[in-house]
């Protein structure tokens, strides 16, 4: 992002109404354009409200970190540079670069890092916090030639790494990856000496924008993609299985096709972290089944569902896969080696990200693997993530079950168990993940920060319900969260979400029943607001309420008990 664009984004963001999303930027240097870029990169993710970045005092990094707690910020970013650890490692203050000055340099860095780290630990438990460790190259403080890694230099780097590991182990603190920064900007091009000496701001504009964008992503992580649809020939394996034969397709070093094995390994990793993997191939289905059953295939066949193999257009396969997954096209990446197929799918589904697998260019294919890990990346993998692929298969089995004669008989035969927990764990990421990523069964589309969830769920007088589901087709894990406040005979529901994988089982009726039964209220009032995607919950609520779709929707207990269909749930643990 250019500085000009950043300033324009901020100007437009300042016109928004609503309570600003406030971030405290703690740095020891003059934050200048880093502050500008951070506000600009936050403007998109914070939605309809303004983004505000507050900074502390020049030259007082530890003090600025301490000020975070009383700042009222929703999140914070801490940017450390070498000059914060010892003046000899910076340019604006003199501390001496001679031999004598090195005797205590390591000890000085150790002491300052301990102070800064302790300050971060103190505040890191109370709000989301992103940290950037020193990213500039060393000033010429070491006496040796530059290619020589002196013991002093190595000890300082070791201290930096130790501090970073200590911080990264904290739940609420996220560290900016040096590997990531190195791929975007080599160390020698990150600083601006003129700017540092003239203004106290040490970064080049490009580096400031990169750091700010990364910090914004750490503070408000972009949602990971949910599904990957892949071609097979010259993508999952080298060769055309229909032309070359089952035994001739390859993915190994000897056949110079190992990049395909790396791709399969990447797909496995994505699936293990909860990503959905499907195949769309123009091939004979029986041959494809044999290929996917090959004993030496790296890709775990159990991770792939569904497999669409036919001679029709790829867009037809994509449509069927999206239906089976019940997710939006914008949450999916399609990978194919054929630009024509990519264009065909892109024309039918403009929201899908289409990526070319260039098998003849390992460098390009490898960059694709890096991009896929980034697009599907998540900092925490929950138990529900490992269940996701299996639950999609289970949902398909549920919908196409031939075992029973009617939908009602099917529901009755499920051996379904519902577990409702009222215990809120502030360190558990699953409730916030459900609230901030669910669209279709979402009461009002409102997204919450960690702090907002804690205040809505973790205080006396508040109701927190977290619902888990399992049936004979398998477990779905935790699939719904409801937040409410008791007000006499009324339960006022501010948040209610349910995973789309749990549809068609009447779980929503069971949740309302639980709410009425455990609170004893006679009315449930819901802060419903229509969004572009929450038709499923709108239709459900309309069947129980006489309101005209305007908040608050009221459901009388008598109306609910009269209107509700039968449910067939056993109670889990």
């Amino acid at each position: 992002m250019k500085l000009r664009e950043a300033l324009q984004v901020i100007r437009n963001s300042d016109l928004r109404e609503g309570k600003p999303f406030k971030v405290y930027l703690a740095a020891g240097f003059e934050p200048l354009h880093l502050r500008t870029f951070l506000a600009a990169h936050l403007a998109g993710p914070v939605g309809d409200r303004p983004a505000e970045v507050e900074c502390g005092l020049f030259g007082d990094l530890a003090g600025n970190i301490e000020r975070i707690a009383s700042s009222g910020a929703h999140a914070a970013a801490v940017v450390i540079e070498w000059s914060d650890l010892d003046p000899r490692l910076g340019l604006r203050r003199l501390g001496g670069w001679g031999q004598d000055s090195h005797t205590d340099l390591v000890a000085s860095v150790r002491s300052r890092l301990a102070t800064i780290t302790s300050a971060i630990i103190e505040v890191g438990s109370s709000l989301p916090l992103a940290v950037s460790m020193p990213s500039l190259p060393f000033v010429p403080v070491f006496p040796s030639r530059h290619e020589y890694a002196s013991v002093t230099e190595l000890e300082i780097m070791h201290l930096k790494a130790e501090a970073a590991v200590r911080l990264a182990r904290l739940g609420g603190v996220k560290l900016l990856s040096e590997t990531y920064l190195s791929l975007l900007r080599e160390p020698g091009k990150r600083g601006d000496i003129t700017s540092e000496l003239a203004t106290g701001f040490p970064y080049s504009l490009e580096h400031a924008s990169i750091v700010a964008a990364a910090l914004a992503d750490l503070i408000i992580p972009p949602p990971p993609r949910k599904g990957l649809i892949t071609d097979l020939d010259d993508t999952v394996w080298r060769g055309l299985i229909g032309e070359d034969g089952l035994a001739a397709v390859s993915w190994d070093i000897e056949n110079r096709s190992h990049i395909h094995a790396l791709y399969q390994q990447t797909l496995n990793a994505i699936a293990e972290a909860g990503g959905l993997i499907a195949v769309a191939t123009r091939n004979d289905p029986e041959l494809v089944a044999e290929g996917l059953a090959r004993h030496d295939l790296v890709l775990a066949a159990k991770s792939v569902f569904p497999v669409k193999a036919h001679w029709g257009p790829k867009s037809q396969s994509v449509r069927e896969i999206l239906d089976a997954w019940n997710i939006g096209a914008g949450d999916v990446i399609f990978v194919d080696d054929n630009p024509l197929e990519l264009a065909e799918v892109a024309a039918a589904f403009p929201e899908i990200e289409c990526r070319l697998f260039e098998a003849r260019s390992p460098e390009s294919a490898y960059n694709l693997l890096r991009h896929l890990r980034h697009a599907f990346g998540k900092s925490v993998v929950t138990a529900e993530d490992s269940l996701r692929g299996a639950s999609i298969r289970a949902a398909q089995s549920f919908r196409s079950s031939p075992d029973v004669s009617s939908p009602e008989d099917l529901l009755a035969s499920l051996e379904a168990e519902l577990t409702v927990s009222e215990s809120f764990d502030p360190d558990d990421p699953r409730p916030l993940e459900l609230i901030n990523k669910t669209n279709q069964f979402n009461l009002n589309g409102k997204r919450l920060t960690t702090d907002e969830l804690k205040s809505l769920a973790g205080t006396p007088g508040k109701i927190f319900l977290e619902v888990s589901y399992a049936d004979r087709f398998g477990p779905l894990g935790r699939i719904s969260v409801l937040l409410a406040t008791l007000d006499g005979q009324i339960a006022r529901v501010s948040t209610w979400v349910m995973s789309c994988r749990a549809f068609s089982r009447r779980i929503e009726y069971a949740i309302l029943d639980h709410l009425f039964a455990t609170t004893g209220v006679s009315v449930v009032e819901l802060d419903f607001q229509a969004t572009a995607r929450n038709t499923p919950i709108r239709e459900f609520l309309s069947s129980l309420s006489d309101a005209n779709g305007e908040a608050p929707l009221r459901i009388e207990k008598s109306t609910f008990e009269r209107s509700r269909p039968p449910t067939y749930f056993g109670r889990g643990a």
Binding site: L3, L7, L32, T199, L205
Partner: protein, 82 residues
């Protein structure tokens, strides 16, 4: 940018930092006439001009951001017109 004068491009830069000024007011604007044309605004202006014209200001040249006129003279002297 082909087709746009140096004056127009410099005016755009100043307008981003001082959106309250009309384009007619900008050529006469500077620290002497505007209270908020302060050191922070000058630094931001220097960075915008560096970005727009692909130039680099020396530490002594930062003071040229004290007014539109000084900046324009500097850019003309470094032959940044297109």
């Amino acid at each position: 940018m082909i087709g746009r004068s140096l004056e127009d491009r410099l005016t755009d830069c100043v307008a981003i930092v001082f959106p309250e000024l009309s384009r007619d007011e900008i050529p006469r604007a500077g620290g002497a006439s505007l209270a908020n044309w302060d050191s922070l605004a000058m630094v931001t202006l220097v960075s915008l001009v560096e970005e727009e014209f692909d130039v680099h200001f020396s530490i002594d040249e930062y003071q040229l951001a004290a007014s539109y006129a000084l900046l324009l003279d500097h850019l003309k002297s470094t032959n940044r017109d297109v």
